[in-house]
Amino acid sequence: MKLQTILYFALFTLPGFALRAQTPMPAPPQQEPILISGGTAHIGNGRVIENSAIIVEEGKITFADAAAILPRRDFTGFRRVDATGKHIYPGLIAPATNLGLVDIGAVRATRDYNETGSINPNVRSIIAYNTDSPIIPTVRSQGILLAQVAPQGGRVPGMSSIVQLDAWNWEDAAYSADDGIFLNWPGLFSYSWRERSFSKNEDYTKEVEELKQFFAEAQAYARLPEPSRTNLRFEAMKPLFTGARRLYIEAEEAKAINHAVHFAREFGISAVIVDGRDAWMVTELLKENNVPVILRETHSLPNRIDSDVDQPFRTPAMLQEAGVLFCFSSDGYWQQRNLAFQAGQAVGYGLSNEDALSALTSNTAKILGIDGRTGTLEADKDANLVICKGDLLDVRSSKVEMALIQGREVSLDNVQKQLYQKYKAKYGE
């Protein structure tokens, strides 16, 4: 029996240690400063530094550049991490996901992302965010360290929050609470399963008018110094009109994107297009209006029979080329661990490696309004970073070996690794 196996058995036969897998314990705040040296640092803004040095102190990056220009100082008391031959990346950010809001898709009791009613700007995803979800550690161990957790369903599903993925409770987890409101733009076409076809949504105008009315009333309310009667929906909407909260508009088709951008402009709201599968058709519009795109899962089929067979794979490169700010996102919750691979796929279809990385890190941070704190490996940013044995974007080698969230070394263990060890032990390996 190998030593590893013996240790494994020893561990799990200790009294009081449940054999049933546990989500790993959140890491304590950073105690000792860390110096990571020798690795290839991918800054997240296009820059790559071979033989780099990164200093992490009190949860922040204080230095990230070539080892050659590392300031002379006393590194006693530093934890030293030799990253020679390895790659260092900013922690990846998963936008627009229901991670933590659902544990088992088919079990209603575990689904917490879709509140009843159509217009719910006041419901807050952060409240339902389950820090103890067994899913989260599996995502984290692939280098995703932050996520924007968003509700779904209805016209205005509610408020999203940005969380860091290593927390005791939702208050700890909150990285940027209530950062935005999600809005599902009315569809121009509706799909009939029975007919297997799309038909014009005859209620489109009505649905848009209803939205306009709601926003207009919310705006008028926001201008009142003291409303005579508190309206929770309007209260939630208020920060939209001052720019303190963003509007994430889900829109797929070119025409809908066009309309949504126009809508946001009319109300003076800073908007982000979510989904944007047709965004490549309206790049000029998006650029002119400074509207970025959280691109829907590109590992998806072209949305029309006649489309280019690789359209979703090529869309990132097309947006990049056109100068539209965009980032990658993944459908679903457990699937977030594959987020980086979409970026890798896009490289095969014309996006540069570093631009692909930006669309997982710095672009995402900009789009979510947290770029002052994270998204790149630069001094003064939170120390959210990943050390990978190989290329994080390529499934062949994306073996994550270490991850820091705000300087805390987070556990890369998860229920799946535990099961793996358990059954390796069963087979005597």
Binding site: G105, V309, Y420, K424, Y427
Partner: protein, 992 residues
């Protein structure tokens, strides 16, 4: 019941009855009429291809006596002058529900829960959608409103049936007159009608197209068995047997269904008459090979309104091309030598029939072929050509009189005669002539002009002052009233009188109220009348190509086998040689001919693959692409009788998309709605080929089994709590029970005693005899273990566990049993039973000696199975070579086709992929994909395809815009847009 047959035979003889019903009493004195008429001066088409000029058509007692050029009018015959008119044999429509009762649901539809048996009470078929006992003539009631619509389009006879069910019983051939049904029925039992739609049946089975086909197949066997047994009476089976020797008409929804119907018929020696949907030209060759005649509609789509360029994206190339080519469908079928009959069924409005017929003629259908398809062919198909379909002596006097050739867009059907009775739409003689008349009213004289269209001319008067005034008028036969306001005076002139051709006269009151005599006498032709006839000869329209399959990325010319020499590639052989650097592979005659270095082959097309990787084609052990109308027949716990092979859909664009991801072979599996699913089909991705041509030749038969939450219907909401099983305990019992029955069935079969052939048990028996192999959807270790134990109890082995997400927990047992595992690389957490799924599953099973594959079960992921394979390297450290085998050689082994595909070895099929990069890398792009040495996908050809699609769309959009501008009707720009693909657990009712 066996007495039914001879009675039916007698009834089926065509009646040559007298026109009065002998058995009816009458009120008053007898009024017998011979209906003895002579039509003179017309051109008469005696048959679709013979015409007599200046003919005298003589009819009597409802039948044709003779058609003779310039023949005399015998005494006693009424002469009908028809100079300048054309008389055609009246049309016959074989596809109609004329005079039929509305289909109604039997009994009460169950709420939310499945309905396991038929709601029809009595000794009828077990399945509510089988209604062979329905006989249309017993229910036929003439419907004057509907008949009149048909008659105006030139029809005199239809075959009517109730369009409800899979077997719909018989149609009856009836005339469209307004007399008693006794006289209108031309042939009581015309044809047996079948369809791929269960209609009003609320029974759960079948819920899929393959279920419908299986039900029909079983019914053929049951009917054979029924005639040899004495255990039971079954009215439906008896009726089914009694209507097998008459024409069999099968309605289908599209060209592929036509192929499916024909294939089913062939199994039982039937050549159906197929009622198509108008898209037959899209698979013309394959349809011609079926030998079937077709009843085809003229339901040509309207142009799409594509003014908005974004909205136009909703309309796909297939829709656009079909808009252009649909009117050429009849022409293309006729030109191919396929027998066609035309039907008005499927038109939004029957009034459009003649216009659409003219459109078909404009698009290449000869007038002769058109007439044939409306007269001779339908009569012949119903075996009624000795009575109907022409105007030869002795046949029914069914014809229509038109004021010109019926293919001219301005000509009209004036009369339709049915069984010697006239139905007048317009009089043959208008009683007036267009032109100028001298109108005298008292002592005043005007010029009156009658211009414009003959049946609703404009009337004007002009006094001496040359101002022209509109005349209001009204005609009732020869009675005419007219009024106008003359230039002088305040009042109106109002006249009433009688028209006698070119002379009209009568009395009226002038503008002052004075009674005056008036007359109008024809003086000359009206001026400018010719301008109405400017109509220039329209050129035959230019049409785009038919592509195969008929959708974006279809081929005009299918790619062929070539000799290719792939040079300097990194070759992943999957053989003992491992990965070869800078190696050459020769493809010849569809096979891998040589693997070496430094090859030089004369005449071979050289592909330089330096820096690139060559691998065997990807094999997807578990897919649901390329299937029509449901992957699940989930209405019963076992549906072993259904076959995906019956419903392969060769037109699914996902086939092409997957070629772009290097996939060359896939097993299309039944879904996982029930413990014993259906038989699967293994296809090669031969894009552009017909369904039968895509099937992997000689491959072993497989069948889908399933375990766990899907089969116990846990995730189908609060309904669906009736069907057994509802627990994993019950699932085991389903298997034990079915195999016990199959074993007993096998014993009976081998004993030589008579038995009822049961297709469900046949499939299970094949499993027991290791002639059919199981791929079982599975998650939890307990149930995996269970199925292996059941198999061992019955002496066979489970071939493959698919999904098998907890396979890692029982990998040792699987290896010992000999089962393979075809898994997702990393899916989990989507339902309770996958909470312990781990991405290390593949690696762990592999290490225990299980043959491991990674599959897609998903049309999208199938394009990236190489990346999924790489996850076995990432999670669990499988070697890269072994990981690639997870999606190539190992699935080939699991499908028993590794003798032909799965590795790069001389003699194996040339199913190969050239990758731009390491095949397990995210950065790798499949650049060329070969199947059987045919280059089905290449980036260069794909680029050309894209340009061709854009150009063709642009051409068609401009053409549609032009048609709209010219006043053509349009429909909204909406449609299919995306191809709907299936997953394992899609189980909607698609048999409606």
């Amino acid at each position: 019941m066996k007495k039914l047959l001879p009675i039916l035979c007698v009834l089926m003889v065509l009646g040559g009855r007298a026109l009065a019903q002998e058995t009816f009493p009458f009120n008053g004195v007898e009024d017998h009429r011979e209906r003895y008429y002579a039509f003179t001066g017309a051109t008469v088409f005696t048959t679709y291809d013979k015409q007599v000029e200046n003919a005298t058509l003589l009819i009597r007692d409802g039948r044709v006596i003779s058609v003779v050029a310039a023949g005399p009018v015998p005494a006693g015959a009424v002469e009908v002058k028809a100079e300048g008119k054309i008389i055609y044999p009246a049309f016959i429509d074989l596809y109609s529900s004329y005079g039929m009762p509305e289909p109604k649901e039997e009994g009460k539809r169950p709420e939310q829960q499945p309905q396991m048996l038929s709601n029809k009470e009595g000794a009828y078929a077990w399945n509510e959608a089988l209604k062979p006992e329905f006989q249309a003539h017993e229910f036929f009631i003439p419907n004057e409103k509907s008949a009149a619509e048909y008659r105006k389009q030139g029809f005199a006879v239809v075959a009517a049936h109730r369009m409800d069910g899979i077997s719909r019983g018989t149609s009856t051939l009836v005339a469209l007159g307004d007399e008693r049904p006794h006289e209108m029925i031309a042939k009581e039992i015309a044809a047996h009608h079948l369809s791929f739609s269960k209609g009003t049946s609320t029974q759960s089975y079948p819920n899929s197209l393959m279920g419908i086909i299986a039900l029909l197949r079983q019914t053929y066997y049951d009917a054979q068995w029924y005639s040899t047994q004495d255990k039971e009476v079954n009215i439906s089976l008896a009726a089914w047997n009694s209507i097998q020797d008459i024409p069999q008409v099968f309605e289908v929804g599209n060209r592929l269904e036509a192929l499916r119907a024909a294939r089913l018929g062939k199994e039982f020696g039937k050549t159906y008459i197929i009622k198509g949907d108008g898209d037959e030209y899209q698979r013309l060759e394959a349809l011609k090979a079926t030998g079937s005649a077709f009843i085809i509609p003229l339901n040509f789509p309207k142009a799409y309104d594509v003014e908005d360029p974004y909205d136009a994206l909703q309309v796909n190339l297939e829709q656009m091309k079909h808009w252009e080519l649909a009117p050429a469908n009849p022409a293309k079928l006729a030109a191919a030598g396929i027998g066609i009959a035309l039907t008005a069924e499927g038109l939004e409005d029957k009034k459009d029939f003649l216009d659409n017929l003219r459109k078909a003629v404009k698009n290449g259908l000869s007038e002769e072929a058109a007439l044939k398809a409306l007269t001779f062919t339908p009569a012949r198909l119903m075996g009624a050509q000795d009575q109907l379909g022409s105007l030869e002596p002795g046949k029914w006097a069914n014809f229509f009189i038109a004021d010109g050739t019926i293919f001219d867009k301005d000509s009209k059907v004036l009369h339709t005669w049915i069984k010697g009775k006239a139905y007048v739409h317009e009089s043959l003689d208008k009683g007036y002539q267009l032109g100028a008349y001298e109108l005298r009213i008292g002592d005043k004289t005007y010029e009156l002009t009658l211009t414009g269209e003959a049946d609703k001319p404009k009337m004007n008067v002009q006094g001496e002052d040359t101002t022209s005034t509109k005349v209001e008028y009204n005609l009732e036969d020869a009675l005419i009233t007219l009024s106008f306001k003359p230039a002088e005076g305040d009042g109106k002139v109002r006249l009433s009188g009688l028209m006698e051709g070119r002379r009209w006269s009568g009395k009226g009151q002038d503008e002052n109220g004075q009674w005056v005599e008036w007359s109008a006498v024809y003086s000359r032709e009206a001026e400018g009348e010719e301008e109405a006839e400017k109509e220039e000869e329209e050129a035959k329209p230019e049409l785009g190509n038919v592509i195969y399959p008929f959708t974006a990325y279809g081929w005009t010319d299918r790619p062929r086998q070539e000799t290719f020499l792939i040079k300097n590639a990194t070759v992943w052989t999957n053989e003992a040689e491992g990965v070869l650097e800078k190696a050459d592979v020769l493809i010849r005659d569809g096979k891998i001919a040589q693997v070496a270095t430094g090859l030089n082959i004369r005449g071979a097309k050289i592909i330089d693959a330096a820096g690139k990787h060559l691998t065997p084609g990807i094999i997807d052990e578990h897919t649901h692409i390329a299937v029509s109308r449901s992957v699940n027949e989930g209405s019963q716990a076992s549906s072993a009788e259904v076959r995906i092979g019956d419903v392969v859909n060769s037109e699914d664009v996902n086939i092409y998309r997957q070629l772009s991801g290097g996939v060359t072979t896939a097993q299309i599996l039944h879904g996982s709605a029930n413990p014993i699913g259906g038989q699967s089909a293994i296809i090669k991705l031969r894009w552009g080929y017909a369904p039968e041509e895509m099937k992997f030749e000689g491959a072993d038969g497989f069948i889908k089994f399933a375990l766990g939450e899907n089969v116990k219907q846990s995730n189908w909401g609060e309904d669906n709590t009736i069907r057994f099983p509802q627990t994993r305990m019950g699932v085991e019992q389903v298997f034990v029970d079915h195999f016990t029955r199959a074993r007993r069935y096998g014993e009976l079969k081998r004993s030589g005693k008579p038995y009822r052939k049961d297709l469900e048990l046949e499939a299970l028996l094949e499993i027991l005899e290791s002639k059919r192999f199981i791929t079982c959807h599975s998650y939890r270790q307990s149930e995996i273990n269970m199925l292996m134990k059941v198999a061992e109890q019955f002496g066979f082995r489970v071939n493959t566990f698919t999904h098998i997400l907890e396979g890692y927990k029982v990998a040792d047992k699987m290896a010992a049993h000999g089962a393979g595992g075809s898994s997702f690389s990393d899916w989990w957490a989507y339902k309770y039973e996958v909470m312990e799924a781990i991405p290390y599953n593949g690696a762990l099973m592999h290490e225990q000696g299980v043959t491991v594959a990674f599959n897609s079960d998903d049309a999208e992921m199938a394009r990236r199975l190489n990346q999924e394979a790489a996850k076995a390297v990432l999670f669990g450290g499988v070697s890269e070579e072994d990981a690639l085998k997870f999606v190539t050689l190992n699935p080939a082994k699991l499908l028993h086709i590794d003798g032909r595909v799965g590795s790069i070895k001389v003699g194996k099929d040339a199913d190969l992929v050239i990758w731009s990069d390491h095949p397990l890398s995210m950065y790798a792009v499949a650049e060329n994909t070969f199947v059987d040495g045919i280059l089905f996908f290449s980036r260069e050809e794909d680029q050309k395809q894209r340009e061709a699609i854009a150009a063709e769309r642009q051409r068609l959009i401009q053409k549609m815009l032009a048609e709209k501008k010219e006043g053509g009707k349009t429909q909204k720009a909406e449609g299919k847009r995306q191809y709907e693909h299936y997953h394992c657990d899609d189980n909607e009712d698609e048999a409606k």
